[in-house]
């Protein structure tokens, strides 16, 4: 199983160290001692400042501007509940405020600090040592006397929770003096995109035999080694659709990273992977949560939830890319999840119409691949019917295609080309849905035609699905993108199209050759046999895999402009 990202002890130390950098603690440092730093968080007033004699006063107290932290949604004590629910002291996701431990001394003999807790008080707790001193029920407290100010810490419940602590100096006579406001900000949940380095990939192993995926599994394993893990198929009811069950992301704060997995509400109707996230990932420094409830639609599966690489749209930079997902009113992603993603703003979501697809996921016809030669550093690979027709016309019309005979009722490329109704249908899909999707992506991602690679595609009207679309030629864009540490190179695990006779090697498959000719030099294709286990069950390689990725940017320095109201 995937281990935690790093040693929790080191991570805790890193958190403290980073807080020192993120928060204005200079005045707390006796070696610095110049007292000149003004963090802008306080009201200087006229009664402080370093005296000529060298004494210190309220004006010398520097307070942090803000406290940045991650929501306490992991399970450090491994009791099966996220730690926020435990309300236990000493958790490493409780972020020190960074108050000067000598603040009361600096403020003067007999001083205290009155603290008002404001904002989303139901989503934040304030700790002093082992005690909660402020929460939704208690929104003010006082720091005085023997209180150890270094133990004042913040705990966040959810992404993007915000609040503030307003500290007011109360002097020995009980008069109010200066006040300082410290902002409290929980990290957004950043969902991963394909330009982020892949750390670890996972798939469900259903063994060999006719239902098996042994070649699929070995294809991943031979390339990725220990960076690839499997889930026993028998333990999850042979539910191979691990892309759909979970969505990996990260929470970060200065010096701190928490891997996170959104657990889909996809919990019934053969969706036996439901306990996977809790059983395999939720733990110390690995969070998990489900947004939404009730019976799932297919749109609640996370092959229907993807993220573009970083883009600039109409002058607005999205350093973490933009989320996109498909909807087909009234069926779409669970409201709670939609609202959470929209409220975060940093990956401002947009939607595509997927009502034409039987399964109804955006990964059925779109993927985004790193490309250093592309103007934006990536290109959108999209299934294109016209390209599909041109490709089939380039094939030997009479070559027997055994996989297509048994899987799709076509024996040759010529058979497909001769089916006028098939092309009428596909041309409608292209004109009514795929091209409009491309137009939406151009507008929402600031792209133009040069940012797209059109891949031969062909769809059939599914008998099982009442006439809506399933991939006929395997959806080769539905691939797993295993990006290298440089964020540019990548191994691509792509469904084998089997557009060849049974005696022809995959490297000689004309579709494979066509596809590889489209690839930039930074990408390496690995063709996996997903036909029986995935393709014939309405999915492909991406649907059957999932990937943990490394965060590559800091939201607190690069995405603040998106978080402002």
């Amino acid at each position: 199983m995937q281990p935690s990202r790093s040693n929790p002890i080191l991570r805790g130390m890193a958190l403290w160290l980073a807080l020192g950098g993120a928060l204005s603690l200079a005045a707390c440092d006796p070696d610095k001692g110049d007292g000149s730093g003004d963090d802008g968080g306080g009201d200087d007033g006229d009664d402080g400042g370093t005296t000529d004699s060298g004494d210190v006063g309220p004006g010398d107290l520097e307070m942090p501007e803000e406290v940045l932290g991650v929501p306490n949604m992991d399970d450090d004590n491994e009791n099966g509940d996220i730690d926020w629910a435990d309300a236990a002291a000493g958790d490493n996701e409780q972020v020190p405020v960074g108050l000067d431990p000598d603040a009361l001394t600096i403020l003067g003999e007999g001083s205290s600090l009155s603290v008002a807790f404001e904002g989303e008080v139901d989503l934040i707790r304030v700790w002093l040592g082992d005690s909660v001193v402020a929460d939704e029920d208690t929104t003010s407290f006082e720091l005085s006397g023997d209180d150890d100010l270094s133990t004042l810490a913040i705990e966040f419940a959810r992404p993007m929770a915000t609040g503030q602590l307003v500290f007011t100096h109360i002097d020995a006579e009980g008069a109010e003096g200066d006040s300082w406001t410290v902002a409290l900000q929980a990290a957004p949940l950043i969902l991963n995109h394909h330009l982020q380095p892949a750390e670890w990939a996972v798939a469900v192993d259903v063994g060999g035999g006719p239902y098996g995926n042994a070649d699929f599994i070995s294809g991943f394993r031979s390339e990725l080694g220990s960076d690839f893990g499997t889930v026993s198929g028998s333990s999850v009811g042979y539910d191979v659709w691990i892309q759909d069950e979970i969505e990996f992301g990260t929470f970060t704060a200065p010096g701190y990273e928490m891997d996170f997995v959104i657990d889909s509400i996809r919990n019934d109707n053969g969706r036996y992977l439901d306990p996977y996230a809790e059983d395999n990932h939720l733990g110390p420094d690995f969070g998990s949560f489900t947004w939404g409830s009730g019976r799932a639609t297919s749109q609640d599966s996370f092959g229907n939830l993807e993220v573009s690489p970083p883009v600039t749209v109409d002058g607005v930079e999205y350093p973490f890319g933009r989320i996109y997902y498909g909807d087909s009113p009234p069926y779409d992603i669970a409201d709670d999840l939609q609202q959470m993603m929209a409220a975060q703003q940093v990956q401002a979501p947009f939607t595509l119409d997927i009502s034409w697809l039987c399964v109804g996921h955006v990964d059925e016809y779109i993927s985004m691949l790193p490309d250093p030669d592309a103007p934006k550093g990536f290109r959108v690979w999209v299934a294109d019917v016209d390209e599909g027709q041109a490709f089939l016309e380039s094939m030997d019309p009479d070559e027997y295609l055994p996989y297509y005979r048994s899987g799709h009722h076509y024996e040759t490329a010529g058979d497909m080309l001769d089916d006028a109704s098939l092309w009428s249908y596909n041309n409608d899909l292209m004109e009514e849905y795929i091209e409009p999707s491309i137009d939406i992506m151009k507008a929402e991602l600031g792209l133009d035609e040069s940012d797209f690679v059109r891949v031969p595609g062909l769809f059939e009207r599914s008998r099982d699905c009442g006439g809506v679309a399933l991939a006929l030629i395997p959806a080769t864009v539905n691939m797993q993108v295993n990006t290298h540490d440089d964020g540019v190179g990548a191994d691509l695990f792509i469904p084998d199209p089997f557009l060849r006779g049974s005696s022809t090697a995959v490297r000689n498959d004309p579709f494979v050759q066509h596809f590889e000719a489209l690839l930039p030099a930074n990408l390496t294709a690995h063709w996996l046999d997903d036909w029986n286990t995935y393709h014939m069950a309405w999915g492909e390689v991406h649907c059957g895999s999932n990937t943990i990725r490394t965060p590559t940017a800091d939201w607190w320095t690069e995405a603040r402009h998106l978080m402002e109201d």
């Binding site: 006719p210 053969g270 599966s301 399964v359 699905c465 009442g466 069950a537 309405w538």
Partner: protein, 266 residues
Amino acid sequence: MRIHTLFLGAVVSLGLMSSPALAGVELSSISQPWAQQALDSAAQLEATQPALAASIRTGDSRPSRNGQPLFIDPTWRTPEAAGAILVRLAEGDDNADHRIALLGALSHTGGDWADGVLGLYSHETDASVRRMMIDIMADAPIEAARVGVKVGFDDRSPAVRAAAMRVVGTHREGNTIGELALSGLSDDSPVVREEAARSIGYAGYAKGFEAMRSLLQDADASVRFRALRSLEKLDMTRLQQLPELSSLAVDPNIKVAREAQKVQAK
């Protein structure tokens, strides 16, 4: 209420939720040739390929990507498997979702299954299964498909009638049964009218042009849109001369209006 899949959503809206399983049909009591052929085929398979026969008798489904059960064992995709699958289907021990999955598997065998499915059709109590029985006629020989379209169009369920219309537009020889879609153009259900219009276009059944014209004034915008699209396929020049086009260009439905404007501009 949230439901499992997009398609199942449509199933719900059409009132097709699964009813109790088919009670079962005693094939040996049916005098039609397909029944005895299915029994003989299953017995033959038992004797010659017992592992495959056992797999078909007892094999369990796997969840498709949207949760629908499927029988995806590739060893079933052989003509010899058709009889045994028909026998299992007729026994009625599987629930409706699994009967649908069996029909899907049956259609991929390449065997002789069409008469058997049509023979079982009248015994099937679940509309969602009957819908699938008709949909797979798109992969049947054209004469069986013709029968399937006719019986399907007589079904009380609009989803089944829509499936019947769909066969015309999906079957590779659909043009030869295009006339069967004409009656669907005046069906009470807009879903059926839309599917009939689509199929006439996909089948390229040019004789349907005049009949489909009336749908340009249908009360349902989806029907108007699909009729417009299909008329484009049949005869764009003639469509551009229709007086209805100017009113469609200002249709209250933006999708219809845009399509009409596009036709005018071509």
